[in-house]
């Protein structure tokens, strides 16, 4: 607002049209970045392939990442994070899921789900192991599953992601181990529609109540 004006918008009216538009565009950028708690606009993103995205959208809870969920009392975030592959052996692989500090620092996790696709060769129940690794790659939790046929399975990783959100650079590391004769537990490339992903739902932290004395 122009100095000395008595109304927030009065200053705008006094500007020349061109300057007025520039000022409003700058204000819009500043306002959106501030509300998203972003210091600056994210640099060029790496969008996932269409197949990967459609497959993930199809698997999620109905309505997630979609419009029209209605205003909630507290600002909510729904994050879809695709795996980044890490070190691997012939029948095991590590995955990393990164979360932005801006969201992590100011929100609390409501739920987080890991989606994995098992391309089960052969017949009958086969054991697979999913380990959630802590910051120094110690095993924080281990889950053994019996997989009977090719398909998706989900794992609740809410507690693991919640503990991450207290770190400087929140990163969830998952290790998959499958029987020797399967080969790698991961599809051959990132654009495969069976690529693993995590969906997390977070809500802005409640403002701490200030008690009047």
């Amino acid at each position: 607002a122009a100095q000395g004006s008595w109304c927030p918008a009065c200053g705008v009216a006094a500007l020349a049209p061109g300057t007025q538009r520039d000022a409003l565009l700058a204000l819009a950028k500043q306002s959106i970045l501030a509300k998203l708690r972003l210091p600056a606009r994210p640099s060029a993103p790496q969008p996932p392939s269409r197949g990967v995205l459609l497959s993930a959208l199809r698997r999620m809870l109905p309505g997630m990442l979609r419009d029209g969920r209605g205003p909630a009392r507290l600002q909510e975030y729904e994050t879809l994070s695709f795996a980044e592959s890490g070190s691997s052996t012939s029948n095991s692989a590590r995955l990393h899921f990164h979360f932005s500090q801006e969201v992590a620092g100011s929100t609390e996790i409501l739920q987080a789900t890991l989606y994995l696709f098992w391309a089960v060769p052969g017949r009958g129940a086969q054991p697979v192991t999913v380990r959630l690794l802590g910051p120094n790659t110690t095993v924080a939790s281990e889950t053994r599953l019996e997989v009977h046929r090719p398909g998706w399975s989900t794992l609740d990783v809410g507690a693991a992601v919640r503990s991450l959100f207290t770190q400087e650079t929140p990163r969830l590391t998952v290790e998959l181990e499958v029987p020797e004769d399967w080969g790698s537990p991961l599809p051959s490339n990132h654009s495969d529609s069976h690529w693993p992903f995590v969906v997390a739902q977070a809500q802005a932290r409640r403002p701490r109540r200030v008690h009047r004395r």
Partner: protein, 114 residues
Amino acid sequence: GVDCGAGSPTCCRQEFFVDFKEIGWEDWIIQPEGYHMNYCSGLCPLHMAGVPGLAASFHTAVLNRIKAASAAAAVDSCCVPTQRRPLSLLYYDRDSNIVKTDIPDMIVDSCGCT
């Protein structure tokens, strides 16, 4: 609320649309294509104080009484939003995650005088 027409001097809602492509943000904001950053501008002369603005609020009722009793004691009335709604954004964060959020009270639907 009143939408601003050509040169209407009194409090109204001024429409203003920010096209994300125009400001080079279309690569990281997936949806929507732009932001309706409407704002309120215009004068609120004394006789319009509280119309339709925050007339429903207790404070405005009290202020009106003060004004009626003594114009000198009147305070300035400002043109402010009376109805707002969230801006729903789907965007890539710096880790190329896809994030959806609804930012409350970002789009002004109507304006009025306090």
